[in-house]
Amino acid sequence: MSDKAILFDATRCIACRGCQVSCKQWNETDEVIPTEENGVRSSNRGTYENPPDVSPQTWLTVKFIEKAEGDDVRWLFGRRSCMHCTEAACVEVCPSGALYHHEYGFVAYDKEKCTGCGYCSQYCPFNIPRLDAGRLTGVGKMDKCTLCTTPGLDRLSAGHEPACVKTCPTNALVFGDRDELLSRGRDKVDSLRAANPARPSATLYGENELGGLHVLYVLEDLPEAYGLPGEPEFPATVTLQKQVLNPLARIVWPLVAGGLALNALIAWARHRTQREAE
């Protein structure tokens, strides 16, 4: 089956945060809002971003980036959520198979299977998976964007697009076949560059990063300006563990066991002949 993807066109985003709200509404991930007498407890962090980070309850946030250009301020609006990598470190390190590749190519999640180890949160190049696990017991479950395929809340298999895409009023978010969205993204980036030759930094992000992401970004600036890693890296430690240490163990242990068995056999045989000689 051909891969599906979300295309986020940052130049169309008006930062209404409708996607954030519909994500919570559909996936039933209410945030606990701290209250005080006659209101909610709030603080000014010097940004319109709210909440400040993804969390087990917030799988998607809109980023507000103010960029000073001379006397002017330019707004860049970003989208922070799971990027659904093809070479997904989280899938590789997940010991329980809770994280896996969906037939559409993105990273789906079976929460039932999650053991709360949090490896995914420590290997993700985009720092997305979140879990509230007890520090002492380690009991807890991870949460992240499932691209609206959570069992019981599966929009995709019902033929719908993800909730964030459905609600986007400016079509900054589009869902569809990845190949089709790629060519659409390329066209958009080309026209952005043509329209503004002075600023040639418009980028299509996600075409080849980590084997190809299933969330593609049309950016009017370099990825770094949006707080994205320019060249996201698959952690070398995953390769070390899965391609070196794991196979090594499967070779070394039988070799040691076999060597020791051989040693015992030889020693027994010589021991016996020595006894018979005595």
């Binding site: 010991p95 709360g116 290997y123 009991v139 430690t237 242990w253 020791l260 020693a267 010589r270």
Partner: protein
């Protein structure tokens, strides 16, 4: 038949407690290390029993140090005292352990060079397990992810080595014809005089001399 006490009851209880907890940790660790082994079996409970095992495996030696501090100090010190006799052991060991003439092996003390290396590996490997385990348990999300990642890799390396060492320990204790009193001595604490003399000649002489001064045997 002459019997020599080699392990006190406390040492034996300690050994078997460590043995049971070690195997529990190996099995629960294996399920996390080789997930393909156990598709569908891995649950949160594995991580919990791994942590319980870790606490016991750390607490037991600490208690031992508290209650038998003099012996524990000796246990550690012995592993670090090396001399030219150890070189002789290394030269004689291959022939000896492959069933060659036992007379070619020079007399050994309470522990031989192989046991020294084993203790060193336990001390070093234990430190790696404890430090990296502590980081992964308590400092996840506090230290940078790359520290967590390398802790897990180091934990894996120590795990691979530890299982190899366990197999060696098990073979020598249970299957090796030359160590025929090894496993029993860890059950009832005693070895025969013949065994003590042939395997730990220098220690046997010390025990003999001490006995003449009517002192208890070192344990």
């Amino acid at each position: 038949m002459e019997l020599v006490e080699r392990y006190t009851p406390r040492a034996r209880w300690f050994h078997w407690l460590i043995a049971v907890v070690f195997i529990e940790l190996v099995l629960s660790g294996l399920l996390i290390f080789l997930p393909w082994l156990t598709v569908g079996m891995v649950g949160t409970w594995i991580r919990i029993i791994h942590r319980i095992g870790a606490v016991i495996l750390i607490a037991a030696p600490l208690m031992m140090t508290l209650f038998s501090w003099r012996r524990s100090w000796e246990f550690t010190r012995e592993a670090f005292i090396w001399g030219k006799e150890d070189l002789e052991w290394l030269k004689a060991a291959p022939g000896y352990y492959f069933g060659g003439d036992p007379r070619l092996m020079p007399p050994q003390g309470y522990i031989n060079t192989g046991m020294k290396m084993y203790r060193l590996a336990i001390i070093l490997g234990g430190a790696v397990f404890i430090i990296t385990g502590f980081i992964m348990w308590f400092l996840k999300g506090i230290v940078p992810p790359v520290v967590f990642q390398w802790s897990l890799a180091a934990h894996d390396v120590a795990f691979i080595v530890a299982i190899g060492m366990f197999l060696l320990h098990f073979q020598l204790g249970v299957f090796h014809p030359r160590m025929d009193e090894s496993i029993l001595s860890m059950v009832d604490g005693k070895v025969s005089g013949v065994y003590a003399k042939s395997h730990h000649g220098k220690w046997y002489d010390e025990v003999k001399n001490a006995k003449e001064d009517s002192e208890p045997a070192p344990s």
